[in-house]
């Protein structure tokens, strides 16, 4: 039944246009920035061609926040920044100021009232790098396919690495990210250190749910390893446990294919990926720890592995070297030694052969013209 829509009704109107939300100093100098300097951890001075200066002051957040916290941040932005603020691509919140003398008060107010730490910056000219926030996914807080929690692990790791966020004492950039299953909403496959939730047992087929909710051919076709066979007689599917590599794609397609096992789900740890083209072209992360059990609430083993990998790099990398540059210089054998990691057969790729053709495609933007 079609009903008359009210006059304010609309769809497909899109997001607010970005220029509605730019402070005056940015509007005036849009596209005309000359250079920037990091004047202290968390504070970047940006100088325009006009000579105008703005300061961006960055704070780490837990990503999952309260509307009441957003209101507190708004109060502070009203007081110091003419009512504007922004978020970065890594869950940090940034305040933009024109008056340098207000920076101390702003930082004090955010840290005391909201409890978010100032930091997350790096000073490439001086070769002093801080750690920025961990990109992550929903985990047990709000997702139906996770093998691990997300926010809880991130909290435990950032507690451990906190001093590197609020200071700039690392040799290079280090991006850490976490995805709670192989669907990877967080796309952590190109980070210096990444964690991904994995399952280790094939789906425990719920025949009744398969019958009620799933298309058999679609469910079978969802398996990249052809491990799912249709049992037409019983109107369900069967899984070849020797072929399944627990990716969970079938569960995404069909609720009758749950593959959760609290005792066997856990975290795989990868390292050596990057997306920037600076010096070394983009690179996929590589698995260095095949599985770590779930240990809520403080996840000591994952934290310990990440810290070992992080410190092996932080203590031995040359200035500006990212994880993959460091590892390629010293060699993977030396890296496993330095990080105190065991090498096992799981780390040798046996998931089919990636297409030869892709191996020769150029990634990144490093061209000669």
């Amino acid at each position: 039944m079609a009903t008359e829509k009210p006059p304010w009704w609309k769809t497909d109107f899109g997001p607010p246009k970005y220029d509605l939300f730019l402070p005056e100093a940015i509007k005036k100098n849009y596209g005309k920035w000359a250079y920037h300097e990091v004047i202290r951890p968390g504070v970047i001075k940006r100088v325009a061609e006009s000579g105008d200066v703005v300061y961006t002051v960055r704070f780490g957040t837990p990503r999952l926040i309260s509307i009441y916290t957003v209101r507190e941040l708004c109060d502070i932005a009203d007081k110091y920044c003419d009512g504007y603020l922004r978020w970065t691509s890594r869950h940090n919140v940034e305040f933009i100021l024109t008056d340098e003398s207000k920076i101390d008060d702003l930082i004090k107010e955010v840290e005391e009232k909201v409890g978010f730490p100032c930091g997350g910056t790096w000073d490439t000219p001086r070769g002093k790098y801080g750690l920025t926030n961990i990109i992550h996914t929903q985990g047990w807080v709000h997702c139906h396919t996770p093998a691990i929690d997300a926010s809880g692990i991130v909290k435990a790791i950032m507690d451990e690495l906190y001093e590197y966020f609020v200071d700039m004492k690392l040799p290079g950039l280090c991006r850490i990210s976490l995805a709670c299953c192989a669907n990877m909403c967080g796309a952590v496959h190109a980070s210096d250190i990444s964690m991904v939730g994995i399952h280790r047992t094939p789906p425990l087929v719920d025949d009744d749910a398969v019958r009620r909710m799933c298309e058999l051919p679609t469910t079978a076709a969802s398996c990249p390893n052809a491990a799912i066979r249709i049992n037409a007689k019983k109107k369900t599917v069967e899984v070849d446990g020797e072929k399944c590599m627990y990716c969970g794609n079938c569960y995404t397609m069909c609720p009758g294919m749950p593959l959760f096992d609290p005792e066997n789900d856990g975290t795989a740890i990868l390292c050596g990926g990057k997306v920037s083209d600076a010096r070394h072209p983009p690179e996929l992360s590589k698995v260095v720890v095949p599985w770590v059990p779930n240990e809520p609430p403080r996840w000591p083993s994952v934290v310990d592995y990440v810290k070992k990998i992080f410190m092996a790099w932080a203590n031995n990398a040359k200035k500006h070297e990212r994880m993959i540059e460091f590892i390629e210089r010293i060699g993977w054998e030396r890296f496993f030694e330095l990080a105190g990691l065991d090498f096992s057969w799981h780390l040798i790729d046996d998931f089919r052969v990636p297409p030869f053709m892709y191996a020769s495609y150029r990634i990144g933007t490093q061209f000669r013209w």
Partner: protein
């Protein structure tokens, strides 16, 4: 005795705690209710903590598989989420997500944010992600019957906020802060992001493709939004021509920087030399691969060349199902002022082809692997370029189209027998 002894251990330590945020929401929601505010999801933050505590005990999620929910007129942007503890915790039995399309670059006015928070205080859990992985504002947790009135209140805001993408549609495009704050931006990332988002509203709101499709836009090869790794269609700023050098600023850096050690020696192609006496640098631009290292090191002294534009990389995605892919080069260079038009000229026939011939849940990168780069380039109208590859192929199993063959008796005979030759043209629909 606490009801959440495991979660109680999470706020320990200096990093801000999400558990604290949930608790704060629970407390302040209660206070707001006492003050007479209309709140449709009372008690849900507290129930969420109880459910999470149970996950921490059981070491598994308690959210059930999807369920289709939506708002009128759209097919995407709202994600059904139900608790398997619904009987015990009715406050979070329905706990659906609304993805809200963020402004490009994640800039906000407090006026707009406050309005959105008011809407979410009334209709939802009062909890959100700033931001989700794709870039949307993620409103976490409301009931099916509140989705529509919540969206209607978003329509009435000044300015209004629209819903983002989900499912097999165009996901919310995102961009780095670009020219708003960064001197490295090789084109206007925010403008392009907004333009594409507005142009493709239908594709964004109504899932119609084999699978999802992501645009991400970074103003320079540093790629602050990780477009190269995360988007089917990555637009990455770059330039041609010479890096602009301000030798006076080089001299300033030389006061305290070891230019030889940290700039010259780290150039991946050895294209920079430094004259320590004159305190000047020289760049062999024909050998520069525009990696950004020297510019990152000396932002005051070095700038990207004046002929600016972007590279298109295609196919990036997470590991499910054919393995993780970093996007590869589809178009090496598009001048900045042609980007808006060229991107549309490329992507529209590409979508059309993928929509017709892609398999269910086949991302564009996997689809192109199956079909071949030759066909892909023909579809998007792009000439092959040596900059698309690290090296030419190592096997001789090349295809040839019929018009590349010399006329011969064998060709005639094959044709007479009905043998079809490789063609890069899409088959006409009968």
């Amino acid at each position: 005795m606490s009801e959440t002894p495991l979660l109680d251990q999470i706020p320990d330590g200096p990093w801000p705690s999400f558990v604290k945020e949930i608790r704060k929401t629970a407390e302040l929601q209660e206070k707001a209710i006492k003050e007479g505010k209309e709140i449709k999801m009372p008690g849900c933050a507290k129930a969420l903590l109880k459910q999470l505590e149970r996950s921490y005990e059981d070491k598994k999620t308690h959210w059930k598989h999807g369920g289709i929910v939506s708002v009128v007129g759209y097919g995407g942007g709202v994600i059904g989420r139900y608790s398997d503890l619904g009987d015990e915790l009715p406050e979070v039995h329905h706990f659906h997500t609304i993805r809200v399309n963020m402004p490009a670059g994640w800039f906000y006015s407090t006026k707009a944010l406050r309005q959105l928070m008011d809407v979410w205080e009334k209709w939802g859990s009062g909890l959100l992600n700033m931001h989700g992985s794709t870039g949307d504002i993620i409103l976490l947790g409301t009931r099916s019957e509140y989705l529509q009135p919540c969206f209607e209140d978003m329509m009435k805001m000044d300015p209004p906020f629209d819903i983002g993408g989900s499912g097999s549609d165009l996901r919310t495009p995102s961009a780095c802060m670009g020219p708003a704050l960064c001197e490295f931006a090789c084109f206007d990332t925010l403008d392009l992001c907004y333009d594409l988002t507005m142009e493709y509203q239908n594709e964004l709101h109504r899932p119609m493709w084999p699978y999802k499709f992501k645009f991400k836009i970074s103003g320079c090869p540093n790629d602050c939004v990780a477009a190269k790794a995360r988007s089917d269609f990555a637009i990455i700023g770059t330039w041609k021509g010479d890096i602009q050098i301000d030798q006076e600023a080089v001299k300033e850096y030389a006061e305290w920087m070891d230019i030889e050690e940290e700039v010259v020696k780290l150039c991946p192609t050895g294209a920079i030399s430094y004259d320590a006496e004159k305190k000047e640098i020289k760049i062999d631009n024909s050998n520069c691969v525009r990696c950004m290292h020297c510019i990152n090191k000396m932002p005051k002294a070095l700038k990207p060349g004046k002929e600016r534009g972007a590279t298109i990389c295609i196919g990036a995605k997470a590991p499910c199902v054919e393995g993780a892919i970093i996007g590869w080069v589809a178009v090496p260079f598009i001048p900045a002022d042609e980007l808006k038009d060229r991107v549309k000229e490329i992507v529209e026939p590409l979508w059309d082809w993928w929509d017709d011939e892609g398999k269910f849940r086949e991302r564009i990168g996997e689809f192109i692997w199956r079909k071949g780069m030759g066909m892909f380039l023909r579809v998007i109208g792009q000439e092959p370029d040596v900059r698309m590859i690290k090296h030419p192929r190592t096997n001789p199993f090349m295809y040839f189209e019929e018009n590349e063959l010399r006329p011969s008796k064998v060709v005639e005979e094959l044709k007479k027998r009905g043998v079809k030759f490789k063609s890069l043209e899409r088959e006409e629909e009968e």
